[in-house]
Symmetry: C2
Subunit: 353 residues, 2 copies
């Protein structure tokens, strides 16, 4: 039996966890160890530690593919351990660090491997990973953006879908996300970080700069539209469960609001709210978007409503093509429909690059 917070988190996010590659059998085991929200971190960390030990053993015995997969499983378990767990900032930070280091262990063992990069901006580094499909490049390339609570390590399954379709993938942590949060909290100019990464992609022979796209999920969908609208090297953009602006702040789930405060580095909710209402806003941006645009949203989204998607779509009047998929039975990011909606997005992006 779970408490109300745990129930609410699982109701919204269980489909996402499975879609992102957590085994449903593991979720059953993990959630059986949880009664109250305070138990959340330890239950996920326990599974993460199990996979880490299995990965260590596999690596020691030369079973490199299993080692790579299990380090990644360990990493995604720590992703969900620290997920929304902002009321215990020390554990939250431990979980972030552990997730990052486990993913770095998996990176060279993945098929295809993930190449770590660090791009300088101001006086800090943007950390990221590039994965390139088998075969002769240069390749179509997709930049995948996390949102409020997803980071570069979490897009692994989506990367695999794109790689199978011959598309290279690039992920990074921007302001307020993953590793970068420790240097830079959420900023109003995420697109500047994206463009710095695109500058680096221009130096990579594997990347076909004529066929570059960006896809972002949830708040990352907002970042994707900002990035594609302001950097015309992108010729396709997918806004997946995106928000247009945050005037709906008071209706957001409590944990979402608290997490926005945390990633913004503002303890006081009213201060955070004022900051975010200004920082997160697509007005005067959407109509700069010139490439192809796909906007995907669940009609039943209980984080932010499909009217956000509609507005993005309607205002992108200069997009070369515009598609709007409002899925009648979809919840936030259509996570409950992931077996069908994710391949459809991967195909759209592949075909529009």
């Amino acid at each position: 039996v779970h408490d109300e917070i745990t129930k609410a988190v699982l109701a919204v996010h269980a489909g996402r966890m499975v879609g992102d590659g957590v085994h449903s059998l593991d979720i059953e085991q993990i959630t059986s160890r949880i009664e109250t929200w305070d138990d959340w971190y330890a239950a996920w960390a326990h599974m993460g530690d199990k996979y880490e030990a299995l990965a260590d053993s596999a690596l020691e015995h030369g079973r490199r593919i299993t080692a790579g997969e299990f380090y990644w499983q360990a990493s995604i378990c720590y992703q969900y351990a620290q997920f929304l767990f902002v009321h215990q900032p020390e554990l939250r930070e431990d979980g972030q660090r552990k997730k990052e280091s486990l993913y770095r262990q998996s990176a060279p063992l993945l098929v295809p491997p993930a190449e770590r990069f660090e791009v300088s901006i101001d006086d800090v580094k943007i950390p990221g990973f590039l994965r390139v499909p088998d075969g002769q490049g240069p390749f179509r390339t997709a930049v995948l953006l996390g949102g409020l609570e997803s980071t570069k390590e979490e897009s692994h399954q989506f990367e695999n879908m794109l790689l199978k379709r011959g598309v290279a993938t690039c992920t990074f942590d921007g302001p307020g996300q993953g590793e970068m949060f420790f240097d830079v909290p959420l900023q109003p100019d995420f697109e500047r970080y994206t463009s710095a990464v695109v500058d680096w992609l221009e130096t990579r022979p594997a990347v076909d700069m004529q066929r570059l796209g960006v896809l972002g999920r949830s708040l990352g969908g907002y970042y994707a539209v900002r990035s594609a609208a302001t950097d015309h090297r992108f010729n396709a953009c997918v806004a997946w469960g995106a928000v247009y602006e945050l005037s709906l702040w008071d209706r957001l789930p409590e944990l979402t609001r608290k997490t926005f405060c945390y990633v913004s580095g503002k303890n006081d909710e009213q201060v955070a709210k004022r900051y975010l209402l200004e920082a997160i806003d697509l007005s005067r941006v959407t109509d700069h978007l010139r490439g192809a645009l796909l906007v995907v949203h669940g009609a039943l989204d209980d984080v932010w409503p499909p009217s956000e998607a509609q507005r993005i779509h309607d205002e992108a009047t200069n997009a070369s093509t515009r598609d709007l998929w409002i899925e009648p039975n979809g919840n936030h990011c259509c996570h409950n429909l992931s077996p069908v909606i994710r391949p459809a997005m991967a195909d759209w992006l592949t075909q529009h690059l």
Copy 2:
């Protein structure tokens, strides 16, 4: 709320369904349409039809990878529609046929593709599929055997694991299984069919005959031991949740007994029991096994107990190496541990070929 039969089937087999590649979100949707066991077939067929329509549409729009995956999803849904559904033989037969035809549609679209073959034996054909990894052959090759209720279409995820590890995969339907059931019911000499397929493999340049293994699950584990013991072209064998003989008949779950009657083509349970007690027996076979042997069993297996595995292991005195993994928390075929046990088996097989 499910009736007792449905509950019992899900308790034993839910882990297997996920391990075999059915999306857990789809299982939730499917089982929400089931109240009594009679609803089982239609609920699964409904999901299968959904995926078939999506696959047709994907193919029409040139989205070949999605089409291949969705035809396969449709196929595995029909696999589970007809699964144990022997009290309605017409639906059972429809489900088998539909599963086969959907898989045939997926075969050329899979990555890597599955090549259909038919090998003559007596006056019938053994139908099967060969999949070969990317790169320069000849390749280590594993023959994967289904059991009482699994067929060549169901090993797709296990094939993918082996292919990722550089191992080619060969699956076929033997007596009593899938397509072949309509020509030949369960026979005491399954190994003769395996050897006919191995004769065909010898003609394939992609297959390294010096590195040939066999893996079978449940009753297929029994077939694997028989096949490896009598055909020394196999140099490694995995018996996964296998049975040694059927003297435990009266303790088998009712649906399992009924399905044994069905695949044997015997309507009368006492006739079937007498036939199967003679037909299914590893006595005087296990000690002929010369290659490497791995026996994997769940200590909590409620179809047949781990003593079956112990006996296979103990009597295989001429095996070049013998490993016995009795998993303390494992159920039938350790399906509840599939995220960990399946890669471990794939690694063992890869390393012993």
